[in-house]
């Protein structure tokens, strides 16, 4: 059964249908209604590297819909440290579960797992490769704020080189005709092969090192964390990272409907003063991870989300 390895596994129409399902599932995600669409189904959570939001939101999504979750648990106590191949691990979990969510440090691991499995694999991040379930929740958040995904002006800022979220998201936004502005230090620029892929697909891409000069006519500003270890020395880090921080004072001239997103965790790139502005969207974005993943799991398992969730769902 097909899973979600990259955003190329979904057509634009399928993406929109899943986002529509997610919108209807919001009261269930918020715990206002109980709708056991996934009762009797088991999700296998295979996180070969640390994750907080992705792992917890998959688990919450499954449980909100009445399903069960089994976890690989701490990698140090699993058979992986004994040298088990990914193929063998997948054979085992494939037998235990109906669907698998996976994060792995190696790029291509999700596709490899899908080729080894009968159940759908949801790629929760593979090295610096793809993170399509994050993209689904990002798209959900953007559409929730702007009512559309079409033709928006989106600034992606910070570490664009190693950040897999921005890679998957850029591809998806290109498909909906968004204008992309990549604001990053030279060292952390979007990989050239990704920029050329995007341009080949008709994207209007601007690359700049000037974040603050790019935000005033943006509809979305998507911030990412710049990691100290990417730089040769601390001075260079401080100089670069300092230019990719947002403070409430920087937002005086931005569009009133502009939203600021971040895959979290943040460190210094969004100052706490931004949290209370109308633009701050990152905590809502993190919550949306649950509802987007609920809709996605239903889609991949062939479970129909009822049109009228309110009348189908029961009180808790």
């Amino acid at each position: 059964m097909a899973g979600l390895i990259t955003m190329d596994d979904l057509t634009n129409e399928q993406i929109i249908n899943i986002l529509d399902d997610a919108t209807r599932l919001l009261p269930v995600a918020k715990g206002k209604l109980f709708l056991p669409l996934l009762q009797g189904r088991i999700l296998g959570n295979l996180f070969f590297e640390p994750s907080t939001r992705t792992r917890m939101s998959f688990e919450t999504a499954m449980k909100r819909l009445g399903g069960e979750v089994v976890n690989l648990g701490d990698i140090k106590n699993s058979s992986v440290v004994k040298g088990e191949t990914l193929f063998d691990t997948i054979q085992m979990v494939d037998g235990y579960t109906d669907i698998i969510a996976m994060r792995h440090p190696r790029q291509g691991a999700a596709q490899y797992a899908q080729d080894s499995a009968r159940v759908p694999i949801m790629n929760g991040g593979d090295g610096a490769g793809h993170h399509p379930t994050q993209t689904m929740l990002d798209l959900f958040t953007i559409r929730q704020a702007h009512g559309t995904l079409e033709g928006l002006k989106v600034v992606l800022a910070g570490d664009l080189r190693y950040g897999r979220t921005v890679h998957s998201l850029s591809h998806a936004l290109t498909r909906f005709g968004c204008e992309l502005i990549f604001a990053s230090p030279e060292l952390l620029k979007m990989p050239t092969e990704i920029v050329s892929d995007l341009r080949e697909n008709g994207a209007n891409v601007i690359e700049t090192e000037d974040l603050l000069g790019s935000i005033n006519d943006a509809d979305v500003v998507y911030m990412t964390r710049i990691q100290k270890e990417r730089f040769a020395d601390e001075d260079e880090y401080s100089r670069c990272a300092g230019a990719y921080r947002l403070h409430a004072d920087n937002l005086a001239d931005v569009k009133s409907e502009m939203i600021i997103m971040h895959p979290l965790p943040r460190v210094d790139e969004i100052h706490a003063s931004v949290d209370s502005t109308r633009h701050a969207c990152y905590f809502n974005q993190a919550f949306n991870g649950v509802v987007a993943r609920m809709a996605l799991i239903c889609y991949l398992l062939g479970v129909t989300v009822p049109i009228d969730v309110e009348s189908e769902g029961g009180a808790l």
Partner: protein, 158 residues
């Protein structure tokens, strides 16, 4: 005439395989991909950079007393997709074979990206590279999606 002229540089073989129209300078790679090295017991003749009307310059390889199989020849698709292959029996061309670069290169080379899942050689699934375009040759790993540099790729022949 062109072919005749080039062929004179090495004698005709009685039995074996002739791989002609190899892009100039690629003959050593072709041998490497066929697994024919210094320890090979069969006689091998190699001509490099001979004039060719069609290609400007080309390489030719003659392997005596060994008929290369279609599967072996398809391994050459990455370096010599337009090579002509003739199976020689009793000094005559008994069969003409073509090299097929399909949509996928299976278990010929492994991905060059150091963090690809396939770098764990104990993983049992086949090494798969997808042919995105033939001219110019554009290849990506089926698993990690990384574009492959041909010069690097040749070092990863399985």
């Amino acid at each position: 005439m062109e072919n005749e002229h080039s062929m004179r540089r090495v004698t005709a073989i009685r039995n074996g395989t002739v791989v002609d129209h190899i892009p100039s300078g690629q003959a050593l790679r072709v041998l490497e991909m066929l697994g024919i090295g210094g320890k090979s017991s069969v006689p091998v003749s190699l001509v490099m950079n001979v004039p060719s009307k069609k290609m400007g310059a080309k390489d030719i390889i003659k392997v005596e007393d060994r008929e290369l199989t279609q599967t072996e020849l398809d391994r050459l698709a990455l370096v010599a997709p337009d090579a002509h292959v003739a199976i020689i029996r009793a000094y005559s061309v008994a069969e003409k074979l073509t090299i097929n670069l399909g949509t996928e290169v299976l278990n010929v080379v492994r991905c060059t990206f150091s963090n690809c899942i396939t770098t764990n050689l104990r993983e049992p699934l086949p090494h798969r590279l997808k042919v995105i375009s033939r001219d110019p040759l554009h290849i990506r790993c089926h698993y990690c999606g990384r574009p492959q540099d041909l010069d690097e790729l040749i070092k990863n022949v399985l």
